[in-house]
């Protein structure tokens, strides 16, 4: 909403004052960020990590990773999608309720909801295991991990959407729809949700990203039959040769990053289509 007052670069005096120090820090940080990524990509495609690309390129590590851990890729994507859908269904109505309610209880609930973010995942996972560890069927299914992911990602969606729902222009939009005789459900799905669509999409993107990469909770909650991508990664790092770990990391990049980029594109498109209409 708050569109930064961007002055054209023309009025910006450049190159005189801050360039040397800031530029070198930026370059160093770029190197620091990119170098490990490049190294991991080449390592996953080389015959031998220590001798590097000189040892010849191969796809055999990737093939091996796919046979060993291929299932974790689909588990993770499915898990993240289910988590996203669930959080959407329970989080968006909750966000609207919190934005509209002025009661004390609502504020307390809002603060409580964000606790799973503040408290380390390890503690949340321990609590879940201690509470539901005895329920064998639940404990050994992906639903157990899903439960953990949902409570962990819920606050991100609720806070993003509730900030959008609280906008004053939305209040008058709602009142306008009411004056025209729209029922609650008509208003909610026909007026309010489309108006905050960019925020909801951004929240969904956040939920998906967090769920796909979640490790702290998941490592504690997983069983040998319920492994996600990050769990598989940790397993391969600990027990396989470094080339396999690299190849697996490469698989993570090639599967997850395109999905994330596609979702980011959708988010940008929604922002353009719906966002600009309501300052």
């Amino acid at each position: 909403m708050k569109r930064a007052l961007k002055r054209c670069s023309a009025t910006h005096q450049q190159g005189r004052l801050d360039a040397p120090v800031l530029l070198s820090v930026t370059l160093l940080v770029t190197l620091f960020t990119v170098l490990p990524m490049l190294l991991s990509i080449t390592a996953g495609l080389s015959n031998n990590f220590t001798r590097g690309v000189a040892s010849g390129l191969t796809t055999r590590w990737i093939v091996e990773v796919w046979s060993l851990y291929g299932s974790t890729v689909w588990s993770s994507v499915l898990l993240a999608l289910s988590c996203m859908v669930l959080v959407l269904c329970i989080g968006v109505p909750c966000a609207w309720a919190l934005a509209r309610s002025e009661s004390r209880a609502a504020r307390v609930f809002e603060d409580l909801l964000t606790l799973p973010v503040a408290v380390p995942g390890l503690a949340s996972a321990l609590a879940l295991i201690l509470a539901y560890g005895e329920l064998r069927g639940f404990r050994q299914s992906f639903l157990f991990i899903l439960a953990g992911h949902v409570v962990f990602t819920l606050p991100f969606m609720v806070r993003t959407a509730s900030a959008a729902f609280a906008r004053p222009d939305l209040q008058s939009l709602d009142e306008a729809a009411r004056s025209l005789g729209a029922s609650f459900l008509q208003r909610f799905f026909g007026v309010l949700v489309p108006a905050v669509a960019p925020s909801i999409v951004a929240g969904s993107l956040m939920v998906f990203t967090l769920s796909v990469g979640e490790f702290n909770l998941t490592w504690m909650l997983h069983t040998p039959l319920t492994r996600t991508l990050p769990v598989g990664l940790a397993d391969s790092y600990a027990s396989m040769r470094i080339e396999i770990g690299s190849a697996y990391t490469l698989v993570f990049f090639t599967v997850i990053l395109p999905i994330l980029w596609a979702m980011q594109a959708v988010a940008r498109w929604t922002e353009k289509a719906y966002g600009s209409k309501l300052g």
């Binding site: 670069s9 023309a10 009025t11 005096q13 005189r16």
Partner: protein
Amino acid sequence: MDQNLANGAEPFNAAPSTRIEVMECAKTYVGGVQALCPTSLTVQPGEVLALLGPSGCGKTTLLRVIAGLIDPDRGGRIAFNGKDVTVRPIEKRSVGMVFQHYALFPQMTVEGNIGYGLRVRGVPAPQIRRRVGEVIDLVRLTGLEKRRPAQLSGGQRQRVALARAVAVQPRVLLLDEPLTALDAKLKEALRDELAQLLRELHITAVHVTHDQTEALAIADRLAVMQAGRIVQVGRGEDLYRQPGHPFVAEFLGRVNRLQRDPTANAGVALGGVELACPAALHRQTTLLVRPEDVQIHLGTAPPFAAQGTSWGQARVLQRSFLGNRVQLRLMVLGQADVLVSDQPRDCAAAVNDTVHITIDPACLMPASLNAVSC
């Protein structure tokens, strides 16, 4: 106010007045947009010069070139008192700058803001205190020393910005639309105050504005700018009375357009009579005339034709009472021209009245000139 200024004016003469010379300065931005055509301009020591023009005319670019915030294209030079300062960055140029949106440091108090330039120069604390006190008196902010910018009104913020700029005794003072962010009433009050303050300071100042009233009230001379170049420089009265360019005539004050056919007759048709047309305007098809120069006469009989003045006829289309005057919209009979005329506030003309009108030929101005480009 006068007393304050009299007291405060003394120490401010310390900074010697500086002559600013802009020599062939142009500015082309990346992408080829030329914001400023090669421009030369001299601002005399102690003079207040206004850069006046519509937005996008290059006036702010020129100010920023003088300030040292923008480097001119190769070949352009800036000199202060004959000394070339082109390669000197703003922090070494000793210019005071006042910005449109104040640009006060939000975390500092009024005192802190005003003393900032002295602090970064390493001036000893007692001296800073004394100087800040003087400037605060000068701009009448006494009692507000400990406030932060967020606790001040717009006018007070603008005074702090001005005080901060003059506290370091800069060689030149540069004002970038200093009054634009204020509301109309306050603007008027601050305009007069600023005009007087600049006189008292005897500081060379360049004032950028798009408001002609502001420029006329504050500046000794005006440089009217259009499309990246200076169209005309001169005293406000001269520019208003004898604009050297139709753009200047139209930008300073309001003008009427009067059509004529140079091939048909030598004069100017006006509601059934023909006015003499000055020789210089013989080729013009459109003439300009200011509303206050369109004279009217009420009553059925045409007035006495003195000194060859002839009176035409026009019908009143609209009459607007504007407080200090009445403005009439007049349809010139037998012509397509509609003229606006300013009359005293007790003017009795009513809508649909037929009135006699005339224009002193000396008040006619040309509407076109050979276009100049850079």
